[in-house]
Each structure stands twice: as structure tokens, then as C-alpha cells.
Symmetry: C2
Subunit: 108 residues, 2 copies
């Protein structure tokens, strides 16, 4: 049994970011820069309530900002990734890469 | 705003596997083949109760098997990855790679 150094990549993952739906939201917001609520909801196959809960967690953590407006006469909600959100996603990706590397190294 | 194909990688992640602590357990059990409870607990910086809860979820899902025994006179618990656990970890890793690829492609 190899002696694992303390500080496994999994311990550096942040639950606010790492949670499956929230990771999807941050990834899409990163790609699209500014993404509309309905698009997120269908792409991630969620109910509006479920997506709303996760957006509240992300907004409270300062990782996204939420913008309300209209498209024509239709009320619309847009989600933007904040600078802190960009950093948090980058940290998550680098920790995930470390974890994947460990799995693949042990197979080499 | 780019049109994302339905089926974002985040929707293919399995919460049983993806959850931060459980992902750590599966990764270490994959590397060590057979890993002792105390080693997992310290490496992932958990309480025994917290680790025990996550192991119950993984065992119920058939992803790990749990073995009780003794090392000398000391009672010991070992965790082994099942075949289903290997497959689940491999699926998780490939979905995470797809997700990471999407983030990095959007930066290219």
C-alpha cells in the first residue's frame, strides 16, 4: 500500500464548485461568457427550482452575478461568471487534472 | 452564445461517484488496490463518522466491498474497489476529461 502524501487532490476540491450541477453551470458560463437561465436549464436537464437553488449558492459565494432584464417583452435572467468564478473554475480544473493524473499514473 | 449540444458532460456525472469525498475514496482504492480505513481517513482528512457514511453509500452502490479483520490484535477494516467501482471511476474520469476539454477549447 503506497504511502499517499497528505493533501490528496480530492481534499483541495471545493464543494461549492465541485458539485455536479454547479460545475456544469460554471463551465457553460465560462464558455458562453453570459448565459441565459433557460439555456442552462435545458442544457443541464434541470427543473427551474433546482437550477435556481444552485445559482443562489454560486451567487452567495460570489462566483456568478445574476442579471434580470427583457428580451422584447419577455422577462429574461442572465448568468455571468465573476472574476472569482473564473479563478474557482481554474482551481477546480487543475485539482481535477491532478486527481486524473494520479489515477493514470497508478495504471502506468 | 454558442448552441451547446444536449448532454453536457456534467449531466453524465454520477453523484454517487462524483461527490468530493467519494471520488477521493475511489481514486485511492484504485491506486492502492486494497486500502485501510484509517489510511483513507487521514489522507482525506475526515472524521470516522463522515468516512463511514460515504463508504456506506459506495458499498450500497456496489462500488466497493468492505472487509473486517485483524492486524495482530487490532481490529482493521479494509476497502476494496469492485469491478463495478473500476468501471464507475473510469466513466467519471472520461466525463471529467470531456468537461475539462470543453473549458480549454473555449479558451483556445
Amino acid at each position: 500500500m503506497t504511502d499517499q502524501p497528505v493533501g490528496h487532490p480530492a481534499t483541495d476540491l471545493d464543494d461549492v464548485v465541485h458539485q455536479r450541477v454547479r460545475l456544469g453551470v460554471l463551465t457553460i458560463a465560462h464558455q458562453a461568457r453570459r448565459v441565459e437561465f433557460g439555456f442552462l436549464r435545458t442544457t443541464l436537464d434541470l427543473t427551474a427550482g433546482n437550477l435556481g437553488q444552485h445559482l443562489t449558492v454560486l451567487e452567495k459565494a460570489g462566483l456568478v452575478s445574476i442579471e434580470k432584464g427583457y428580451e422584447g417583452r419577455r422577462p429574461r435572467t442572465w448568468i455571468n461568471l465573476t472574476k472569482a468564478g473564473e479563478r474557482a473554475l481554474r482551481d477546480e480544473i487543475s485539482n481535477l487534472k491532478r486527481l486524473i493524473q494520479q489515477v493514470e499514473d497508478s495504471e502506468a
